[in-house]
Amino acid sequence: MEKFIKLIDTAIPLDAENVDTDQIIPARFLKATDKSGFGENLFRDWRFDKNGEPIEDFVLNQNKYSGSILIAGNNFGCGSSREHAAWAIKAYGFKAVVSSYFADIFKGNALNNGLLPVQVSPDFLHRLFTSVEKDPKEKFSIDLEQQKITIKSSGDSEHFDIDPYKKTCLINAYDDIDFLTSKLAEIKKFEEKRSGKESIPQETL
């Protein structure tokens, strides 16, 4: 996993709410058995028509917008648990997604892939949309150490929350597998304590 410490870049505004993982990556593209190539089909049915031609109105097809920050409407990433959604966003070139709300599973998947979900207030999200729509060259800074997101030109900023453990993981590029495999002795002890029969916690016997 890549480290995430601080990012300063322009952003692409996706002004839609309840963006579900079926839109991020439709199920028909989930047949791959490796993690590569999903970026090409990110937002496939919003980005391309049935003949594979780019749909001009869609933000990813508008040349004026670029950058590695995706700004999206409320409740981003709802629906299916497919991690392919996080892989697709990452593979397309995004490093952070900003929204006023993230669905649980998507948020976890993003964090496990070094893609930072930045949850801001609805008011601040509105200001982010306004600033990028006004000036597509506007830069935003996302500082994970300080847990702060800033609109560069105005200095308008907001604090964001993140699980302290996950923050450490991102800053150091650790992943949960390293941590969990270092705990196998404790896990075995836990298994033994459960009286050799699954599901019966000691205290109830």
Binding site: A16, D34, N75, C78, S81, Y165, T181, E191
Partner: protein, 460 residues
């Protein structure tokens, strides 16, 4: 301290709590399928990490499988490769696989409960968001991403923050023709698609107590559609009777011991929830959705809300509906009865009881897909296959099928499908398809009349 059902199960599975961080949560059963596991197996291989507890993993093939000619090689090459990798990965890692054609094969959330793999008090995970289904047994069951699948392979544990607790109470007497699907669609329509985010939801009240296990599974299945990671219902005699005697359920003395424990799994009187909602059963009517998320539901005889925001406008434009419009009498060319929400024997019984002696409308393409081989067998044993056949319905082999349209079972662009599945997202049932979520009874009635119809009219 007074504990909720959720606390009791969660706390007994915590290996260690990391200060200022997540819990290390022990997982009793890990269910896997072909779509979200290959990258996890690859990662283990790359990092040279063995599968820690292969005997606690069960695999099935369901998402990406054809629903006809399952005895023949799978035609789609990518699907075939994905299925082959699942077989190889299971074989190399000593994991039990119930592959295509096996008598135990089926949709992961249908086959695991019916085989007795799912038992009260367990923690169960799967790389699929509808893992919440298993909560019907009083288990903590939730969907995970592929990185987490790798974590469970490597350690039989997950690093997770303990979610907050939500309780939804429904008490009273349900009207005739109102099915468990209507109850959950009603709840989601009232609470919205992200009301449950960050929560685990306990369903309580006499309505759930009186439901069959199949009905409880339908309810818990859709917990994720209001954003909740999982939903659960306290185990009771109905649960115990369902589990007893199943293939992998404990037997004899062991069963008695477990039963005594399962009976302790209920929320203590006075235990606190972070959020609680209550509804009256009498207010619930048969439901349908009109938009592109499961929260956009109305009663079958109702009309689309006139007040709406930008998202509603986008959804209505996709569905080609107008604010204020009534959906009753709307011509429909496709219906689908299946998916992990409604593909259990009870769902087909209720559909068949309505269909018996009738014939589908000529314009309708009616697809019936059982959730598992066992359900398919039961359909034949009870003669329901004849009912469907005589009515002109197409009965297929088990799988996820048109719920997510990974295989050939797709709804064509621009067509409406009254579907018993769980998601009406844009293009969910095929590019450009328009999904209307409903109960098996509403789907059956729609197939017969060729338009959205109020089946309750025939009940009185």
């Amino acid at each position: 301290m007074k504990k909720t059902l959720f606390d009791k199960i969660w706390d007994s599975h915590v290996v260690e709590s990391i200060p200022d961080g997540p819990d290390i949560l022990y997982i009793d059963k890990h269910l896997i399928h072909e779509v979200t596991s290959p990258q996890a197996f690859n990662e283990l291989k790359e990092r040279n990490i063995p599968v820690f507890r292969p005997e606690q993993i069960v695999a099935t093939a369901d998402h990406n499988t054809p629903t006809q000619d399952q005895h023949l090689p799978v035609k789609d090459l990518l699907s075939r490769k994905q299925l082959k990798e699942l077989s190889q990965n299971c074989e190399e890692n000593n994991i039990t696989l119930y592959g295509l054609g096996h008598p135990y094969n089926g949709i992961v959330h249908v086959m695991a409960p019916e085989l007795g793999i799912t038992q009260p008090g367990m923690t169960i995970v799967c790389g699929d968001s509808h893992t919440s289904t298993h909560g019907a047994f009083g288990t903590i069951a939730f969907g995970i991403g592929t990185s987490q699948v790798t974590q469970v392979f490597a350690s039989q544990c997950l690093l997770v923050e303990k979610p907050k607790k939500l309780r939804v109470n429904v008490n009273g007497k349900l009207k005739k023709g109102v099915l468990p699907k209507d109850v959950i669609l009603y709840i989601i329509s009232k609470l919205g698609t992200n009301s449950g985010t960050g929560y685990f939801c306990e369903y309580a009240g006499n309505v759930f107590e009186e439901m069959s296990m199949e009905g409880r599974m339908t309810v818990c299945n859709m917990s994720i559609e209001m954003g909740a990671r999982g939903g659960l219902i306290a185990p009771d005699q109905t649960t115990i009777d369902y589990v007893e005697g199943r293939e992998f359920a404990p037997k004899g003395e062991e069963f008695e011991k477990m039963k005594a424990y399962w009976e302790t799994l209920k929320t203590d009187e006075g235990a606190e929830f972070d959020q609680e909602y209550s509804f009256e059963a009498e207010d619930i009517e048969p439901m349908i959705t009109y938009g592109t998320n499961p929260g956009m539901g109305i009663k079958l005889t109702g009309s689309i809300p006139i007040e709406g925001d930008k998202s509603d406008a986008k959804a209505l434009s996709y569905m080609n509906f107008k604010p204020g419009e009534t959906l009753l009498e709307k011509p429909i060319n496709y219906i689908f009865i299946g998916s992990c929400t409604n593909s259990r024997i009870e769902d087909f019984r209720v559909a068949a009881s309505y269909i018996k002696g009738k014939r589908k409308a000529d314009n309708v393409n009616a697809l019936i897909v059982p959730g598992s081989q066992q359900v398919a067998t039961q359909i034949r044993e009870e003669g329901l296959d004849k009912v469907f056949e005589e009515a002109g319905f197409t009965l297929r082999q088990p799988g996820c099928s048109a719920c997510l349209a990974m295989n050939d079972d797709k709804i064509p662009e621009g067509e409406y499908c009254v579907s018993t599945s769980n998601r009406n997202f844009e293009g969910r049932q095929g590019p450009g398809s328009r999904t209307i979520l409903a109960s098996p009874l509403t789907a059956a009635a729609t197939a017969i009349s060729g338009k959205i119809s109020d089946h309750t009219l025939t009940l009185n």
